[in-house]
Symmetry: D3
Subunit: 146 residues, 6 copies
């Protein structure tokens, strides 16, 4: 795969040449950080009986899940290009399921829903890394786990 | 197609039964209205030499195009369900091209780019209408043209 | 009325000639769509005993009612012009009551408050249609009812 | 007028008794502060030939004028009650002209447009003071002039 | 102190000469107004048993406390300059404690937490007044108490 | 330092025990990513003569620099605790200079101003890493450089 990725990169360059990106800064860390907040909000909800804290967990989860969706949508629409879709035919479906999973975390206070979201973002992060030599997605995850 | 749509609707109902939608209000008119603003901002830009008005056209086009993207993303992720994708295999690609076209209008002051965006939203609007008996997308377009 | 409207339009044109509008895209559909979300959020609240879903209904109703207010305010300040106020002397009061009704839906989980809001927006929609030949407000309402 | 105001206050109290306000904190200072920013942005625009600074003045003026509109709309819809409109029949028209004036400052880089906006807000501020014993609007203006 | 303030002002002017401020409009009233809303939201929460009203109090307190933080941060970063820090060595710590206190009001429904926030903002307001001849912070507080 | 950091962590734990943080997710990567966008926007501005692209660079730089400020402010107020300030007496001043540097990038189209901002954020990132065993700030920077 790595080799194919490099091959593709060579082919893609000319496509990028007229650069329709603006600033070119994309990092799945943004979605992953907010998803971690969603997970922690669920944990806080489950760990307490305090009514106010629980309501705040719902409010904040709602906001953070929306940010997750936004960051994923931006990545999907702005970063990825047609050659990526040829290389990763599952790309659209993966983003669709991930943004739907983000929506599901708004409706739920179950750990498994937040964990499913994180797992899908991690799949996107790994895929992103394959399109960018030297990008280390594992480091993003590790930084959020310490 | 109409018949297939009805058939699908029967099949889809059970999927909706545990309703993961929240309020269920979706209308492609939202994206279409903002796209019309993008088009008009381009026209205003082209029709004037006034420096301040031109700069405001750029600012407002930027904001409206972002709203177009947002409304399209919400439609894609929240309204459409797996059976729709089976029925319309082009769904993902259509939304991807439409949101990319919205991004392109930020970078451009050409009428053709804004018109391309509107044309893609209209394609989405027609597709949306096929999934919802009685929804009249042509009325949305007509209301924006008077 | 139709005739008077046409007469006024002729008179108004010169007023529009130095056009202080920016993009000129206004559509009461925007407020109506958000108001429908408010109504549906109230319905969801009433139909469930689930504590989390009820809290989400409150949160989302709060946001959507604010969007209703915003869209109505924009319409009132930006779309309507002095000749409209001469033609429709109740204009200011109608918008005042409608935005207040939107505020009331934040404070309430009663269907009748959401329905009152929608009814006032529909009054505004009909009035708007009278100022714009060919605009079909009934189509907006119908699209939201299917 | 002062006497009438007191009389009205006595009459209004029962109306407030079932208090449909939420937190009851309203202060025209919010709109006045943002309008001062609009004025200063215009001054900065006029005082410089620097292209970047001029563009930033346009951007910031756009944002601040929008905030002026928002604060005025909130005051109009949420603070004022039917008895106020009876006492001040010009209330609706005054707010309409003030929010339109805020919109006009977006389109203009003329001092006179920003000054007209401030003058209308000051009219609103004085009117607000008449409805609230002890509120000193002159102090708001003075604080912004030092 | 007044005298030292004037002395400093003379010294500071040359620093301002290349003015890195944009519009130069800063007023602690903005943070104080939102903090009053936080306090009133807490009062409303404590005064009622209505579940919906209590949830709205939590939601609105969350938003208003965030606005308090934002206005304080802007004041700290944008208004104050190095000579002010020399004059008021406690400046950084005061803003840190005030913004933390704003965060604490999100987590609490206790009057004392909202009152502590207001007390810290009043300290900032008094300090601000010392840097600006003629600014009357007491008038801001008085306007919010009537 | 590392040893002192560990010592402090032991001492700090009891302070954290009544945890006033909500979700506990903080990552300087958020500010760093937006600062990279600021830098790239400046580069794009410098590399082109296209008037529209230059105006968009100004608009986007304005927004991204604001996000940098926001993420830094949140880190300063919400993540850091009194024991951190004892350990790092320069903390307040460092954040003050960094947020001021972010403000400076709004006013400038010079590479050196964007680079200064990034350099200050990197200082904060390294300091943050000292308070969190296992956090790898260098990985954040590396991911943004590929």
């Amino acid at each position: 795969m790595q080799k194919f990725s490099k091959l593709l990169k060579g082919l893609v360059k000319p496509v990028y040449a007229h650069c329709d990106l603006f600033c070119g800064v994309y990092d799945p860390a943004q979605a992953r950080i907010e998803a971690q907040s969603v997970l922690n909000a669920v944990k806080r909800y489950q760990d307490t009986d305090d009514e106010v804290l629980r309501q705040r967990a719902i409010i904040i989860k709602e906001q953070r899940a929306e940010l997750v969706k936004h960051h994923l949508w931006v990545l999907w629409t702005d970063y990825f290009k047609p050659p990526h879709v040829e290389q990763f035919p599952e790309l659209h479906d993966l983003f669709w399921r991930a943004t739907k999973a983000a929506g599901d975390t708004k409706k739920s206070v179950e750990l498994k829903d937040a964990e499913k979201l994180i797992s899908l973002i991690d799949e996107i992060g790994e895929l992103f890394a394959k399109t960018k030599d030297g990008y280390d997605y594992a480091a993003v995850v590790k930084n959020l786990s310490v």
